[in-house]
Symmetry: C2
Subunit: 199 residues, 2 copies
């Protein structure tokens, strides 16, 4: 399987980097092809230029290449912290610019852009690993967990990815090394289950 791994955290020593590292190592150990992007390390520009707004626009080659990758992926793994109920801006902008019409979804013939698009991603599953310093109950009861709706309904649902597994590791700031080791083992088990060796 071809698996795309997208990581958004500015600190290379972050637990997000540890998660992405374990995802990548597990995928390689089980014989999959991995395309990974550490958006902060790559200096991804998240600001959508006005010229890229029209459906027929042709974005720069680096954006088109990421579009080709994500469209060809059999599996997708996203890793980022929950900041204000959203991904960090660098990943919000990756969604804005890379998941374009014609790449991730398309409007049906005769639709002026206001209708229900058809998803174009072929990935059989997407995993979303998040970190947070908010408790699960506060996220669910006070904030109503917008991030879950963003990935599940707005992004992957619209783009045609039916199986979405999301896991938030919390509370990272007060976690022990043992806790984090066990979380990384859980990451590995989830990756192996979602993308079995030889699949």
């Amino acid at each position: 399987m071809k698996v795309s791994l997208i990581l958004a955290h500015p600190d290379p020593r972050s637990f997000n980097h540890a998660i992405a590292g374990r995802v990548r190592a597990t995928l390689l150990a089980t014989g999959h092809d991995v395309s990974s992007h550490d958006l902060c390390a790559e200096g991804f520009d998240p600001v959508m230029p006005v010229a890229e707004i029209p459906s027929a626009a042709v974005p720069p080659v680096a954006i088109r290449r990421q579009g080709d990758e994500i469209r060809a992926a059999d599996g997708i793994v996203i890793v980022h912290p929950n900041w204000w109920g959203q991904p960090p801006a660098i990943l919000t902008g990756w969604i804005d610019r890379v998941l374009r019409p014609g790449v991730a979804y398309r409007f049906r013939e005769g639709d002026g852009g206001e209708g229900v698009p058809e998803g174009l991603l072929r990935a059989r599953a997407a995993l979303v690993f998040n970190t947070a310093n908010t408790s699960a109950s506060r996220e669910a009861d006070v904030f109503l967990d917008p991030l879950d709706k963003i990935w599940r309904n707005c992004v992957f649902g619209l783009c045609g990815v039916r199986t979405i597994h999301r896991r938030t590791f919390q509370i990272v700031v007060t976690s022990t090394p043992e806790q984090r080791r066990s979380w990384l083992d859980e990451v590995e088990a989830t990756v192996r289950r979602s993308f079995p060796p030889g699949a």
Copy 2:
């Protein structure tokens, strides 16, 4: 009253710009002080550098100035399109970088960062004007409107702004000039009601 107006859309000919223009004109006509930021025109950098993550970090002066403005505001108006259930990345990054600990919220003594922060914004009301090319029913029933939760619960709720009025104008792409004129009149009426002259 001091009112902060934050606009995020890359196209100066967009309906978002028309909304922000009407907000600004109405506020000035009713005698309020307005600080406005057209984030795209100003070239705001939405990518949070690793050095700005610690609570005690001192960000660049331009970020600190925006923090001072938003903290001093008696009213806040946000204008942007709904992209994927989120603001455009440039505004997501404005939230990440400007609404810092010590500016927009603070943790209580002895809290390691995992607790419930206290809001520091003093604005009596925030208005959020959005545009969308999705119907209200599809946004509510299929996407579960994460953007509403982001502004209401995650951002303004956490930062201490109690009164939030959000209005999405939809569907913009198929709207008539008459429809858009009537929407702009509604914007003006909402601004006058929320921030009365002489208040």
